[in-house]
């Protein structure tokens, strides 16, 4: 009996290690593949196909991208960095201010504000009316603001921040108010410094959203100078897709120079960008922020 139990427990533990190990490898493998191909020589890839180890390891592809066609990709990089920095700062400010206001229990109409916010989650006018007003009234076609403004306020993130502000004791605020501080001072000097985890978590979420966004570029941007990185990559890939699906006859595709396999994967690696280096450091805070946020929910 005892022996059986030990055996079945061991089986469960082994299963746990195998499952987690396999899934983790499956998550990282494609990425290693991409990186490895970007460091391989084009001929070796054409001969053997993709593989997890670099074949004839070389930096040629990166030299080619940055030296020969450098301006285009650097311009896209600039657009993406500007959008990410400006967007994240703006979004954090707008989101945390409203979250703070709603978290104050003395505020009589805070439920009205919360309802106005919630309603936009559950019901929307749809893509086309949204697109029409954005283009016709706000002039977002081919404007860099089209990549920033529409996603500068996320209601989910606002409610996540409110959960954290709610946990701060109101007596802290009252003490400051007696000393003559107004609500904004209280927000700036007390609530924000006490909320580093949620600020970091929500800030990362916004930064990631801006860094990875290409959809707004797809519908608003035609001007090549305003292409963010992700959309730049999307364009490379969708041309390739069209040809490999056989939609474009092979005779015609002879006239289009396809980017080489290694170039595609190098652009992908460049597009993933700083995340790949920052990842080990930010992951911990991210998990922490989401975990505590989820528990309080």
């Amino acid at each position: 009996m005892e022996k059986n139990r030990l055996l079945s427990d061991k089986l469960v533990t082994t299963l746990a290690y195998v499952f987690i190990g396999c899934f983790a490898v499956a998550c990282l493998y494609p990425l290693l593949l991409t990186v490895s191909v970007s460091f391989s020589s084009e001929q070796a890839i054409a001969r053997n196909g993709y593989s997890i180890f670099p074949q004839d390891a070389t930096l040629d592809t990166y030299t080619y991208i940055f030296v020969n066609s450098g301006t285009k990709i650097l311009q896209s990089y600039g657009v993406t960095i500007f959008v990410t920095v400006a967007g994240t700062i703006g979004a954090l400010l707008i989101t945390s201010m409203m979250a703070f206001a709603i978290s104050i229990r003395k505020l009589r109409y805070r439920n009205v504000l919360a309802f106005i916010s919630n309603f936009t989650i559950i019901f929307s006018a749809g893509l086309i009316p949204w697109y029409m007003v954005s283009v016709n009234y706000y002039g977002l076609k081919n404007s860099i603001w089209a990549l920033i403004v529409p996603s500068i306020f996320n209601v989910w993130n606002m409610f996540l921040m409110r959960t954290y502000f709610n946990a701060i004791s109101p007596s802290l605020y009252e003490a400051a108010e007696i000393d003559g501080a107004n609500h904004f001072t209280v927000f700036w000097k007390i609530a924000l410094p006490l909320s580093k985890t949620p600020l970091l978590t929500v800030g990362l979420m916004y930064a990631l959203q801006y860094w990875n966004d290409w959809w707004h570029a797809l519908i608003f941007i035609n001007d090549k100078e305003l292409f963010p990185l992700q959309y730049y990559l999307y364009n490379i890939l969708s041309n390739v897709n069209a040809i490999s699906s056989g939609r474009i006859p092979s005779g015609a595709s002879g006239n289009i120079t396809l980017p080489a396999e290694t170039v595609k994967m190098a652009v992908t690696v460049i597009t993933i960008g700083p995340i790949i280096f920052l990842y080990p450091f930010i992951q911990r805070y991210f998990v922490q922020g989401i975990m505590t946020g989820a528990v309080k929910e």
Binding site: L33, L237, T292
Partner: protein, 320 residues
């Protein structure tokens, strides 16, 4: 109704109005602080509602939104007529979301439960970091990775098939595989992230229950099935309902990032969201608005139903 009105003291409305302005004055800084957020909501969520009228017209640029001829429900009728893609895209959306939801629960729960059984802290940390990584990638990058796996001449999948002596498959011209690929990609991208919520819930579980189960001779499998899973159930239900509420919405970024505007695969993976975008360019603004409006209304009904269900199951605590 009338008696209730009579019971309200007469001066109430006046005092309320007075109170409204006094409240604004008293907390004006707080209200000012929410103004930027409210402006964004007004601009991108509320003002667009005026454009919904287009769904009932035959929109043309010359006459504008409110001058174009009124056609009633014609646009909606066309969606379900036999010539259009209406049924097809509805089926695709529901199919991809349904299996997305099922596997999107199975994998994260399994990850959370199994990670809990692993004693080696280093292994746990390493694997968790690896599983969390796909969350950070954009759908375009995922699309590039999928291309690396399935491209017909250099892709890994065909190399593997060749290894087993099988014929290579021209994946990008075979629609039948792509629903599965899209669902798998979704699970791959989100599982590590979603498992965090379950792990957060597990931190709060009463450890003494496990102790007494052990004393009673329960093995690990029994502990998982009889303790962990039942205690995770409320979290699972709430997250499922949240997803069911959004079952009419496809992930535009996912579909376009992975398959792009590829008409060969389009039939298999076009969901309502991508269909609206394509319709805007080919079938006109009115029709695309109508499809979007229908999606929103169905979505609203489902979200409200899901919220009510969550309240019933979750001691009055709804989804929002």
């Amino acid at each position: 109704m009338r008696s209730a009105a009579n019971e309200t003291p007469a001066p109430a409305p006046a005092r309320k109005k007075n109170g409204f302005f006094r409240e604004l004055k008293k907390h004006h800084i707080l209200y000012l602080m929410s103004v930027p957020g409210l402006i964004v909501l007004l601009m991108f969520s509320y003002i667009p509602f005026s454009g919904v009228w287009m769904a009932f017209t035959d929109f043309n640029v010359v006459d504008g939104i409110f001058g174009s001829p009124f056609v009633g429900l014609d646009n909606f009728k066309y969606f379900f007529s036999s010539g259009s893609m209406g049924w097809r895209v509805t089926y695709n959306t529901l199919f991809i979301n349904f299996f997305g939801i099922i596997f999107g629960i199975l994998f994260p729960v399994a990850i959370a439960v199994f990670l809990n059984e692993i004693r080696s802290a280093a292994f746990k940390k390493l694997t968790q970091s690896m599983m969390f990584f796909p969350y950070f990638l954009s759908w375009v990058v995922v699309g590039a990775i999928i291309y690396g796996i399935f491209s017909s001449d250099v892709g890994v999948a065909n190399n593997m098939l060749a290894l087993f002596g099988m014929e290579p498959i021209s994946w990008y011209s075979e629609p039948k595989y792509w629903k599965a690929i899209v669902i798998a990609a979704n699970v791959w991208k989100w599982s590590g992230y979603s498992s965090i919520v379950y792990m957060a819930a597990m931190v709060n579980f009463d450890q003494s229950l496990y102790e007494s189960a052990k004393v009673d001779g329960a093995n690990k499998m029994q502990q998982i099935l009889r303790l962990t899973i039942p205690m995770l159930k409320p979290t699972i239900i709430v997250l499922t309902l949240l997803n069911v509420g959004r079952i009419f919405y496809g992930d535009f970024g996912m579909i376009y990032g992975i398959v792009g505007n590829n008409p060969v695969l389009g039939d298999a993976v076009t969901v309502i969201d991508t269909y609206v975008y394509q319709s805007m360019r080919t079938l006109g603004f009115s029709y695309a608005t109508a499809v979007g409006l229908m999606q929103s209304v169905l979505g609203l009904i489902l979200v409200l139903a899901a919220n009510r269900a969550a309240k019933k199951i979750n001691d009055g605590e709804g989804l929002f």
